[in-house]
């Protein structure tokens, strides 16, 4: 990626935090996705040492993919297709590569985000130019192609995880999800097995935001990653005939519009479809009414495809107006004609201008790439939200990372818009989603693993969470672009990742397999369900009282169910030097009182463990659907170990 390493503080003056040589290049990031484009410069192995001796993986040959395409960077490339073929019939090898080769682009993008090699002069059609590199650019990459044209099937996913564990990856990056029925779901079960082998599993939280309780991949042994923006944008200016200007976003890079105002028409008035004409659906625009004009379409489908429809009807340019669903979140698109997306507010004004002015005109100016955009990060509207739909007393998502307009490597089999008609071929593409934020965290986990090889997956997650930030440098809270108001822990979890502090978190909340099994007992899972997940003979102890509240999680969620008092227990492990940690609690309303015992924890040596208990006293009469937030922070003056608190009635 370009820009993200700098945005995350991983640039040159912090390179000492994560030494480039030695252990960092022995960490293997496994990516379950659509495969890989091995010719990409992001998988060059120039300057890499021999493959780590612990590595047991390899490369599968197949359509347009020989094992020689693997190297000391791309050390694993496998594909799993039996589940897909069982349903769809044999792969049509004229359309899809029955091999690890990525025909889609998604897998190449995520793998290079997590651990791509350094590539100078990377850009998309001139946009976002810079030095591209993966978050853990010295780590090795192993890809497991489990996603095909019509989707990703559980039997293939489980086979990919099965092999990744056997191959001995250290990190597993999974940017997909299915239904959210429980922890016996296949990826949750596979992730449990990986966690047991010390493999850190990060998953995308899903793109169903900003809807309440829309978060996916919520198993507590998975790190669930939401998406935020970078400090980079691709602005445009829409100039109207009445002299007013409005900002938009675009990645169009072809011939600009003529430097004059052009006739402007609203698709709803230039269509043969009274009901949906405003969405510029294929075949609904009347060429005589749009030819040589700029067409305003309402958002509702694939932006590039909408642009394609306007272009085919003879339109010179397009203004795509967000509707209520997209609001002010404007994702960049590689349009095939001079076009821009504008937010709902601007869209409503421009639409009103068109419908009231006797001779509406406009022009679109593409401004290119700008950086140091503030405020940033903001929480992406599409980023799925809590509360956790399966266990409301475990806060999810865990944290957020860059996931909007991310440039990373791309396939040579598709154009940047993904449209069949897009014959352009690019080495890098800019796309958005929690699929992009997840591999950022996978890469960060690889960096932490290289510096702290003894840390468990839970310890890595804890370090990333307790050091995440949820305010800007000026102290103001991170904004949620869906509401233009402060984001909450149901949106950003513990906050935005901060790798430079995560490497030295002070205290960590560790968890073992046994702890997670105790959690399943607390969830009243029966012996069969526990056996599915544990693959062993573990049984809950009938003499023990299990509680979700006792799962040693680095955050707190309380689902008020009538009682006024809720007790949680936590144990922290000292991974910094000796120190005396004092607690500070905050609560945004008097309806929630938080007390912590003891208020001071004194540590003399590394790996010393101390426990504390938290009592939440809540006004249980608050109306259902209310939320309240706060925090519990421990500090020794050098480290701040922060945990969010989310209370929901």
């Amino acid at each position: 990626t370009t820009r993200t390493p700098l945005f995350l503080g991983l640039d040159v003056h912090n390179s000492g935090l994560f030494p480039e040589t030695g252990p960092s290049s022995n960490v293997v990031v496994g990516v379950l996705d659509t495969g890989i484009w091995p010719e990409s410069k992001s998988f060059s192995d120039e300057g890499y040492g021999p493959i780590p001796p612990t590595w047991k993986g390899g490369c599968d040959a197949g359509t347009k993919f020989t094992t020689s395409l693997c190297n000391r960077k791309l050390i694993g490339a496998r594909f799993f297709v039996r589940g897909y073929e069982a349903i769809n019939g044999p792969v049509d090898e004229s359309k899809e590569s029955k091999s690890p080769r990525d025909d889609n682009g998604h897998g190449t993008h995520t793998a290079s985000t997590a651990a791509g090699s350094v590539v100078e002069g990377a850009n998309l059609l001139g946009f976002a130019n810079g030095t591209a590199r993966g978050i853990a650019y010295r780590a090795r990459v192993a890809v497991y192609k489990v996603c095909w044209k019509t989707g990703c099937f559980a039997s293939d996913i489980l086979a990919g995880i099965d092999k990744a564990i056997e191959d001995n990856v250290n990190i597993l990056s999974i940017s997909l999800s299915g239904s959210r029925t429980g922890y016996t779901d296949d990826t949750a079960v596979g992730a449990f097995a990986a966690m047991e082998r010390g493999i850190f599993v990060s998953c995308s939280a899903g793109n169903n935001g900003p809807f309440y309780s829309s978060v996916a991949n919520v198993a507590p042994w998975i790190t669930t990653v939401g998406a935020g923006t970078l400090d980079r944008d691709f602005p445009t200016v829409v100039i109207l005939g009445n002299g007013k200007n409005y900002m938009g976003v675009s990645l169009f890079s072809g011939d600009a519009l003529p430097p004059k105002l052009l006739p402007l028409v609203y698709a709803g008035n230039a269509s043969n479809n009274a009901t949906y004409g405003n969405f510029c659906i294929s075949g609904t625009l009347i060429p005589e009414k749009v030819k040589g004009k700029i067409v305003m379409c309402d958002a509702g489908g694939n932006p590039a495809r909408i642009g394609e429809v306007v272009k085919a009807a003879g339109g010179l340019g397009m203004i795509l107006a967000n509707m209520a669903y997209e609001g002010e979140e404007i994702l960049a698109d590689a349009f095939l004609l001079p076009a821009t997306t504008v937010g709902k507010k601007a869209g409503d004004i421009i639409r009103h201008y068109i419908l009231t002015d006797p001779n509406p005109t406009a022009s679109i100016v593409i401004k290119g790439t700008v950086v140091n955009v503030q405020p940033s990060p903001v929480l992406a509207a599409f980023s799925s939200r809590g509360p956790n739909p399966i266990t409301p007393n475990i806060l999810k998502p865990d944290l957020i990372a860059p996931g909007v307009n991310i440039l990373a490597a791309w396939t040579g089999a598709q154009g940047p818009s993904g449209l069949e008609s897009d014959t352009r071929r690019v080495e890098f593409n800019i796309i958005s989603g929690t699929s992009m934020s997840c591999p950022h965290v996978s890469g960060l986990a690889a960096l932490l693993k290289s510096v702290h090889p003894e840390w468990s997956p839970a310890a890595i997650r804890s370090a990333l969470m307790t050091t995440a930030y949820n305010t800007y440098k000026d102290g103001k809270p991170i904004i949620d672009i869906a509401t233009l108001k402060p984001s909450t822990p149901f949106g950003h979890g513990a906050g935005h990742v901060s790798p430079t502090t995560a490497v030295n978190p002070g205290l960590i909340y560790d968890l073992t397999t046994e702890d997670y099994l105790g959690f399943l007992c607390a969830m009243n899972y029966n012996s069969s369900q526990i056996r599915i997940i544990s693959r062993g003979n573990y049984a809950c102890d009938p003499s023990k009282t299990y509680s979700v509240a006792d799962l040693n999680y680095p955050s707190f969620a309380v689902n008020v169910d009538g009682s006024d008092t809720y007790k949680y227990k936590r144990t922290v492990t000292n991974v910094g030097g000796a120190g005396s940690y004092s607690v500070k609690v905050t609560s945004e309303t008097t309806a929630v009182k938080i007390s912590v015992e003891p208020a001071v924890l004194n540590f003399k040596e590394v790996n010393e463990k101390k426990s504390y208990s938290v009592t939440f006293t809540v006004d249980s009469s608050k109306p259902s659907g209310s939320d309240s937030f706060g925090s519990i922070e421990w500090s020794d003056g050098k480290h701040v170990v922060a945990s969010p608190v989310a209370i929901s009635w």
Binding site: A86, I87, C147, G151, C152, S155, D162, S175, L176, V189
Partner: protein, 82 residues
């Protein structure tokens, strides 16, 4: 037999493998054969889960569920990229 086949994920209690089998893959295969002569074993799993993936009709799936050592027979889910 015309009945609609589907892909199922079968979770097995590996520790319950009868001593007559040398390898749990052989036991899985025998369990599957007991409900269908023709069912295809798509995958056997050893690390992510204990069990296998296969194509069955709903009736065969129900019947497999009654076999010793079978913990669950779940219809395969489809997942989507984010």
């Amino acid at each position: 037999n015309g009945a609609q086949q589907g892909t199922y994920i079968v979770h097995m209690a590996k520790s319950q493998m009868p001593s007559s089998f040398d390898h749990h893959f052989l036991w899985y295969d025998a369990s599957l054969r007991s409900v269908s002569e023709s069912a295809e074993m798509l995958y056997t799993y050893n690390n992510s889960i204990h069990g296998f993936a296969t194509r069955l009709t709903p009736e065969e799936a129900d019947s497999l569920m009654t076999q010793p050592g079978v913990i669950s027979v779940q219809p395969e889910q489809r997942y989507e990229l984010h």
